[in-house]
């Protein structure tokens, strides 16, 4: 299985093909949202919402055979696309891998620049929450 670093390199290469055109980059991100596994309606609850500004994100995680499985959704398509990238990088890995991951693909694809501060902050909050879940599972495994 490829490592977190491999997948990040893949993503960076894909975005390089798009070049500098902001509009097509955003269109591409919006399309990526379509890859997300459908989010279970019974988990669309206030307690799973990550604080964002204009876009809402729901995120849940469960542990399966020592790996963390994430599911997430958003009310905006751009955010959904970003989530799908994070999930592609972090899903179904051990808590240890997730916690040790150096997530640098976002700045490497120049995303901060495209997204503006509101969405970048939301994305950072989302990454933190994913790591927090991993930490909780690791603590449980070690207990």
């Amino acid at each position: 299985m490829s490592t977190i670093a491999d997948i990040q390199n893949e993503i960076v290469a894909e975005f390089e093909i798009l070049g500098d055109d902001r509009e097509s980059t955003i269109f591409y991100i919006m399309e990526l949202g379509g890859n997300l596994e459908p989010y279970p309606e019974d988990l669309r609850k206030e307690e799973y919402i990550i604080q964002g500004c204009q876009s809402k994100v729901w995120l849940v995680a469960e542990e399966k055979e020592g790996k963390v499985h994430y599911r997430a959704d958003s009310n905006t398509d751009i955010t959904k696309g970003l989530i799908s990238l994070l999930i592609r990088v972090l899903d179904r890995r051990s808590p240890k891998e997730i916690l040790e991951a150096n997530l640098d693909f976002i700045p490497r694809i120049g995303m901060g620049n495209i997204l503006g501060s509101q969405r970048s902050n939301g994305l950072a909050a989302m990454m933190n929450q994913m790591k927090r879940y991993a930490l909780a599972f690791q603590t449980k495994q070690n207990a």
């Binding site: 509009e23 955003i26 204009q54 495209i114 503006g116």
Partner: protein, 407 residues
């Protein structure tokens, strides 16, 4: 007379730039307008030549600054047709102006069981101060409902009016939808039951000819930054007899006549409400903004903006997936809309990629959005320097975005 858009544009340095590789199209004028060179120059001139504190120093610079400061007060008076310049109070903005009335007029003249009427269209700054007052003194907040097109329901307003009504505080023109309220009728009806009327003029003063004496409103609140002027400056107009009867707002320098530790007597209006050192540079530069508007011609600007509004509606009305929000018969130049199956935030980001600045979200009118059953809108709002060509580029971009989800 048609306005010369190119000559107007040449007076706004900020417009001449590229954003994300495209010429900037600034359609977020309801949030704040850009500033003409004369305003920027006035700020610089003040700090380079005249900077000093006003109404105090016995020296030439203080005199010059004071004189210019008071000239702006006179310009504002003329701009809104007030009887005397003492009725013009400088604040930090519409928000502070409304809070001032809530804290002073509200605490002195509105009691437990009295009623305050606002509308569903209000900006948060014309909701929260009244909620705070009601919480404090037990007064009751009543809300005028609206139709699906975004217009006040007159009969419902009449039903709310009674001898218990002490104040009607309504937005003159809605920032989220553009609806122009029938304020003259509202004022007359409110006065008939003995209530006072505050108009939130944050949007109307830039798009309509607002004459406080003709309207006979008791208070008018607005912000300089939406009128081609500096940020951090607003105006509260109030009728003299009300301002004199109201207790002061903030305590400090400037607002006093004499202070002893036993008792302080207050200054006359408008100074009674202007405690501390005000935004002197901003006030002085605001005169240049008003001069810009007057010399361009209010009526000319309004005609131009309305023309742009009509044009954008024309270009987009048959585009699949476009849902206009707020279709009142009388509107200022605000075009609010949604795209079927898309979030306004995404639409805004895609427009930004094309260098087009719009506002997305609830526009500080969450109760209104809830009433309309939507999370927010995309809002394009026009000013004197916008062009028909910009509207065309915008309409093309919106059409392309709409086609993504509406084949």
């Amino acid at each position: 007379m048609a306005i010369q858009v190119n000559s107007i544009r040449s007076q706004f340095p900020i417009l001449h730039q590229e954003v994300n590789g495209n010429p900037l199209i600034y359609f977020d004028n309801a949030a704040t307008t850009q500033k003409p060179k004369v305003v920027l120059d006035a700020i610089q001139q003040y700090y380079e030549v005249d900077n000093s504190n006003i109404h105090r120093g016995a020296h030439t610079l203080a005199d010059r600054a004071t004189q210019q400061f008071e000239e702006t007060r006179e310009s504002v008076r003329a701009f809104i047709g007030a009887k005397e310049s003492a009725e013009i109070i400088f604040t930090r903005g519409t928000t502070e102006s409304i809070n001032l009335v809530a804290k002073t007029f509200g605490s002195a003249f509105i009691q437990k069981g009295d009623e305050i009427i606002i509308s569903t269209l209000e900006h948060h700054s014309n909701i929260v101060p009244w909620q705070m007052l009601c919480e404090q003194n037990g007064a009751i907040l009543r809300i005028i409902p609206i139709t699906d097109t975004g217009e006040l329901i007159w009969e419902e307003f009449e039903k709310l009016l009674s001898s218990k009504t002490k104040l009607v505080s309504v937005v003159h023109a809605s920032n989220a939808l553009g609806t122009i309220n029938p304020v003259k009728r509202i004022i007359d009806a409110a006065h008939a039951v003995g209530a006072k009327v505050l108009l939130d003029g944050a949007q109307s003063t830039s798009h309509l000819d607002v004459d406080v004496q003709a309207l006979d409103c008791d208070f008018l609140a607005f912000s300089a930054h939406k009128l081609y002027g500096p940020t951090g400056l607003g105006v509260l107009y109030g009728k003299r007899e009300l301002l004199e009867a109201m207790p002061p707002f903030l305590g400090g320098g400037e607002m006093i006549r004499e202070v002893t530790f036993e008792k302080t007597t207050y200054n006359t209006i408008p100074f009674k409400f202007e405690a501390g050192t005000p935004s002197i540079a901003e006030v002085i530069a605001f005169k240049s903004a008003l001069d810009f508007i007057t010399s361009t011609g209010k009526a000319n600007i309004h005609r131009h903006e309305n023309d742009l509004l009509k044009y954008v509606v024309d270009l987009l009305q048959d585009v699949k997936g476009i849902i206009p929000v707020g279709t009142a018969a009388e509107k200022v130049a605000v075009f609010s809309f949604n795209i079927q199956s898309m979030h306004p935030f995404d639409v805004g980001q895609l427009l930004d990629a094309k260098g087009i600045a719009v506002r997305t979200g609830h526009h500080c009118t969450q109760p209104l959005m809830r009433r309309l059953g939507i999370e927010g809108t995309v809002r394009a709002s026009f000013a004197a320097y916008n062009t028909r060509n910009e509207v065309e580029v915008f309409a093309q971009a919106v059409t392309k975005i709409a086609s993504l989800k509406n084949k």
